[in-house]
């Protein structure tokens, strides 16, 4: 008898079945459905076309304004009002006061639960995989369907395991691990697949680092990104082993998160923007890491260093511990919590000859402004050291 794996087990539970197999098309119960200010309004428009009077469960639908907060245009103001009015009329939760990036905030609200099925109208919904949830990123229309039915139709995906063996090198963070994996398998290496990341070094990581890893599993096309919770994984289609000692501090070079090189190979590339923040790396531990680098130093001349806390709680902790002051004294711009410039609408867009190093998750052409601007994705440590030196730098170069 084939034993179903942990992802199949969670799917089976939500379809009221004992056994499922790859390719089964199932309608599964959704424990939480989330959207933000640029996907939520379109979901609401579609939901209203369905014609139901209420959402399936007001406690299980959450909207967060995080992309354009405060509003970056008149149009974005309309989007915020749409969410606000809908939450009043339909009794769903709405966070519209810069409480944080959706995935960070939902985590802080303790809504990412182990063995839940979570649907999010945001591709980085896979962040919830760090908590043992099966989290599926969708578009606005699918979100609308879930809001009405409380279910989503999915196929049971093939599941593959990535096992990181052995001890990590110094100065290797969660970001380096996931960039290494994306670089190795490519941006469509796991399309339509459920991916479980495991290994001794993964178990030893902080929850923040685990979130960074699960957050970027969409960048290799995964349908579901899941971090091993220590339970039995069960039978999977394939297990790939990666030696931890092969992972070095690295960057994803433009124009793709899959274009990964050890930072040592591109060291010295002159930058004029550094961005620290996002659902990938905007947590307190990321801020602390960067602050330790920059304390008592200055941001290099000609560099904009933009620091975006991923939530209000993170920002408050930074204020209390003095980190905000360290950044500001160094010449960084500390913004309100939110997505910041990550997706190219506001708070630090690049012109065509600009080069940025960023702790965010995507560096496609035009992601952060002009389509010829270059973006290098890196860990907060590399971002902070590069901001001080004005060029891409390996960890440890700032003394």
């Amino acid at each position: 008898m084939v034993k179903i794996n942990v992802i199949e087990g969670i799917i089976a539970e939500h379809a009221a079945k004992d056994f499922v197999k790859v390719g089964d098309e199932l309608s599964v119960d959704v424990d939480l459905a989330i959207a933000h200010d640029v996907t939520g309004p379109l979901a609401i428009e579609q939901f209203k076309k369905i014609g139901v009077k209420k959402v399936y469960d007001g406690d299980k639908v959450v909207f967060v304004s995080d992309h354009n907060i405060p509003c970056s245009s008149v149009n974005s103001r309309v989007q915020h009002k749409t969410l606000e009015n809908f939450s009043d009329d339909y009794n769903v939760k709405y966070f519209g006061r810069s409480e944080g990036v959706i995935h960070q905030l939902i985590m802080e609200e303790n809504l990412y639960k182990k063995r839940d099925i979570i649907v999010g109208a945001d591709s980085h919904t896979c962040t919830a995989g760090a908590f043992g949830a099966v989290a599926i990123g969708v578009g606005s229309t699918e979100m609308a369907a879930v809001m009405a039915l409380g279910k989503i139709d999915i196929e049971v995906p093939p599941v593959k395991v990535i096992n990181i063996e052995g001890k990590l090198n110094d100065n290797v963070y969660g970001k380096d691990i996931i960039l290494h994996i994306i670089g190795k398998f490519g941006t469509n290496g796991f399309t339509d697949t459920g991916v479980i990341i495991t290994g001794e070094s993964i178990f030893n990581l902080s929850q923040d680092d685990k979130m960074t890893i699960s957050n970027m599993m969409i960048e290799m096309g995964a349908m579901i990104g899941y971090i091993d919770q220590g339970d039995e994984i069960g039978e999977v289609l394939e297990t790939v082993n990666i030696k931890a000692q092969d992972i070095f501090p690295c960057v994803a070079c433009p124009p793709s998160p899959g274009n990964v090189k050890p930072v040592s190979e591109v060291e010295g590339t002159v930058i004029n923007q550094a961005v620290l923040g996002s659902c990938t790396n905007g947590r307190y531990s990321d801020m602390l890491e960067a602050a330790q680098v920059i304390k008592g130093k200055k941001v290099a001349k000609g560099v904009n260093f933009i620091v975006v806390p991923s939530s209000k709680r993170v920002a408050q902790k930074m204020d209390e511990s003095g980190i905000t002051k360290i950044f500001r004294d160094a010449g960084a711009i500390v913004t309100n919590p939110g997505c910041g410039p990550c997706f190219g609408a506001h708070q630090g867009l690049l012109n065509k000859d600009d080069v940025a190093v960023s702790s965010t998750n995507r560096n496609f052409p035009g992601r952060m402004g002009h389509k010829e601007a270059k973006i290098y994705l890196a860990s907060p440590r590399i971002v902070a050291e590069s901001a001080v030196l004005g060029k891409l730098s390996s960890p440890g170069k700032v003394k």
């Binding site: 076309k49 149009n75 578009g139 369907a145 399309t191 496609f364």
Partner: protein, 174 residues
């Protein structure tokens, strides 16, 4: 929907959603989306060139990146008839189908691009799973759509399908 006829536009690998629809345009009202379709790609003047029924041919991983449904919506609102690619990113593929824009997988894209000129007219037969270059009269293979995808497209998108479910349950009126 079964037959789509139009001229071809050619694109490469990894046409991500930022190239299809820039991030700032996610706040645009739906009627303004067509103006910025493919603005970040090498065909940045796509909205001026495209006509009803036209077809995009692309290589692997079309639509990778963000979940923004404004990306397929922008393409659809230009009148685009279909996208044929070697492979699609999952969320984009689902979004396109959910709003009624056919996305067709063909492993023959390399050959199609090699044997065709940009601007050639093509005919896609969804039931047959074929793509024909109307100039050269060559016929290429495409994958047939799954039953679920076909049903959703035929219903005109997911919303109509959900409505049918709820009408059958007696929860909403026709």
């Amino acid at each position: 929907m079964e037959k789509i006829i139009g001229k071809g536009f050619f694109l490469g690998d990894d046409i991500d959603t930022d190239q299809i629809l820039p991030g700032y345009a996610m706040s645009y009202p739906p009627e303004d989306l067509r103006k910025v379709a493919l603005k970040g790609s090498k065909i940045s003047d796509f909205p001026d060139k495209v006509e009803d029924g036209d077809i995009i041919f692309a290589q692997d991983n079309f639509g990778c990146g963000s979940s923004r449904e404004q990306a397929p919506l922008a393409l659809k609102s230009t009148g685009l008839g279909a996208i044929v690619a070697k492979s699609f990113a999952r969320i984009f593929r689902k979004n396109a189908v959910n709003i009624g824009l056919p996305v067709i997988i063909s492993k023959d894209v390399d050959v199609i691009l090699k044997e065709s000129r940009e601007g050639d007219n093509f005919r896609i037969d969804i039931n047959e799973g074929s793509v024909k270059n109307l100039r050269t009269e060559k016929i290429y293979q495409a994958e047939k759509l799954s039953d679920t995808t076909y049903e959703t497209l035929k219903a005109g998108g997911l919303i109509n399908k959900v409505r049918k479910i709820l009408i059958n349950r007696g929860e909403i009126n026709e």
